[in-house]
């Protein structure tokens, strides 16, 4: 108890980190399930179906299977860097999430008022980029330390690709910084409040549409996703830089990849899509929007109950109605006056991040892979000049509007 009174910040952030890690690990697991389901539907398949109702326990089964697989460290490998690579990848991918705020509200934990972010820094954006850039080392180390040809080629390709698109990624954000004038996510999102002609939200995506396109393309390339997944081009390089990895070390690279996907989607939401701001004006006529989170949960709950009872699988008939009742309960909680204002920010933030993640999966389901020379010339000859032009035009407009 004395520790709590002496170091309130540490204890409160410990609680927040525990919640954040739990939520993120669950989200990672179910993102794989979601991806497999969506890609399966795009390809007219069912996707995971038999492990639990509609394959809902598939991520858990995968995790257990990974854990019980044989963990091979090749004798030819450089042991220290071989183990260090997956460790760095996952640890850094999770650390970046500490800088991402999910709402404007201030809540109270153990009597301490605290914000909905783990680490509120005034240079959060730079810190985030700095931490996520170290993640490239994981790929290089994994490729080199395996001492095998496919990982080496995969690692080299991957690092060349990641650093090429990193330039466009960092440059595409400068346009937003010019308008916002701050590295602090709270200021950046705060500057996007309000509406043009009462309907169009003042999000940076509208003046910065070029920057947004550059950012999104570069972000997909940074996270090594389709159509830029050359580092792990199965048909050419077996599995790329993690060919020699097995057991949970192999899984950790995937966890890191999905965590990075979540991070760049959160960043895109904060910088371009207005973060936790609602797309509707905050006038009296739009007060009903405060009930949207509750309404969404209640509709989802009813859908789960009805759909579950009409389902074919026995497990679905048992589990889905229970989940539906939980949804209804949480939906009711969201209408309570103490909870309603707090839940608005996280609701819109999650909705936008979810949409971006869906976009990621959608791209994977529809686009073919680039060839390596196309990839490099696209990054250097198209994306880089485009983000530079965007930067110059934005600064010109900003300076002319100041006069």
């Amino acid at each position: 108890m004395e520790f709590v009174t002496h170091h309130p910040v540490l204890v409160v952030s410990l609680i927040k980190i525990a919640i954040a890690l739990f939520v993120v690990m669950t989200a990672l697991a179910y993102l794989t399930w979601f991806e497999r389901k969506v890609v399966a539907r795009i390809q007219s398949r069912w996707g995971p179906y038999w492990v639990g109702p509609h394959g809902l326990l598939q991520p858990l089964a995968d995790g257990i299977k990974f854990l019980f697989k044989e963990d091979i460290v090749p004798p030819a490998a450089d042991k220290i860097s071989y183990v260090l690579a997956p460790f760095l990848a996952l640890a850094l991918a999770l650390t970046t999430l500490a800088l991402i705020p999910i709402g404007p509200a201030t809540i109270s934990i153990l009597g301490q008022p605290t914000q909905l972010v783990i680490s509120h820094s005034n240079v959060a954006l730079i810190l985030l980029f700095a931490i996520s850039s170290i993640g490239i080392y994981a790929v290089v180390l994994a490729g080199w330390s395996s001492n095998s040809k496919y990982p080496l080629m995969g690692g080299l390709r991957s690092s060349a690709q990641m650093i090429s698109y990193e330039v466009s990624l960092t440059l595409s954000v400068v346009g937003v910084l010019l308008i916002a004038g701050s590295f602090d996510f709270y200021d950046i999102v705060g500057g996007q409040s309000g509406h043009w002609v009462h309907v169009i939200p003042k999000w940076h995506i509208f003046p910065q549409i070029l920057g947004f396109i550059c950012y999104l393309t570069a972000a997909i390339a940074e996270t090594n996703r389709v159509p830029f997944d050359l580092p792990e081009a199965e048909t050419e390089l077996v599995a790329g830089f993690h060919t020699e990895y097995s057991s949970f070390k192999f899984a950790m690279f995937f966890m890191a990849e999905y965590a990075n996907m979540i991070t760049v989607s959160c960043l895109a939401t904060l910088l371009f899509l207005g973060g936790w701001l609602s797309p509707f004006p905050e006038t009296g006529a739009w007060r009903w929007q405060l009930y949207l989170p509750a309404a969404g949960l209640i509709i989802a709950g009813i859908g789960l109950i009805v759909g579950g009872l009409r389902g074919v699988q026995l497990s679905a008939k048992l589990v889905f109605p229970v989940l539906g009742i939980v949804c209804l309960g949480v939906g009711y909680l969201c209408t309570l006056p103490g909870v309603m204002p707090v839940i608005q920010g996280p609701f819109w933030f999650t909705a936008k991040v979810f949409f971006l993640l869906f976009f990621y999966v959608w791209a994977r389901g529809t686009l073919p892979r680039f060839r390596y020379d196309q990839l490099m010339s696209f990054g250097w000859k198209f994306l880089l000049p485009l983000s530079l032009i965007n930067l110059v035009v934005t600064s010109l407009v900003v300076v002319l509007r100041l006069r």
């Binding site: 890690l21 854990l67 999770l94 680490s119 001492n147 650093i163 950790m252 390596y372 110059v392």
Partner: protein, 122 residues
């Protein structure tokens, strides 16, 4: 000032420590749990089932090195633009012209690289 500094960065350090701890636990768990059966063939580097020839520590295309050098050039440019973007509204027209000069110098280098074929992937 000191207090607020610690307030914002101590949680970040804590997050890193916990995330690193989680990663370490996963690595240790995977090497403890699960069966281990040493077979000579299993220890060889993977090469599509054929017997591995030579070592992976071989020279590779110099082009990767070139990309790394170009990256350093342009990434430093991007990093210099960050503080500039923050104080841009105070600098006003002066800042805009200075930045144009700065970018112009880099664009000259960029055109040189393009003409030299450094951005070409062979």
């Amino acid at each position: 000032m000191n207090g607020s500094y610690l307030d914002s960065y101590a949680p970040l350090l804590l997050m890193f420590l916990l995330a690193a701890g989680l990663a370490a636990v996963l690595i240790i768990a995977s090497s403890v749990v699960g069966r281990h059966l040493k077979v000579r063939a299993k220890d060889q580097p993977y090469e599509c089932g054929i017997r591995p020839t030579g070592d992976a520590r071989e020279p590779y295309s110099v082009h990767f090195y070139m990309v790394a050098m170009i990256f350093i050039l342009f990434d430093i440019e991007a990093i210099f633009l960050y503080p500039w973007a923050i104080v841009f509204k105070q600098l006003n027209m002066f800042g805009f012209v200075e930045m144009l000069l700065y970018i112009a110098i880099l664009v000259v280098g960029y055109i040189y690289l393009w003409k030299k074929g450094a951005l070409e992937w062979k």
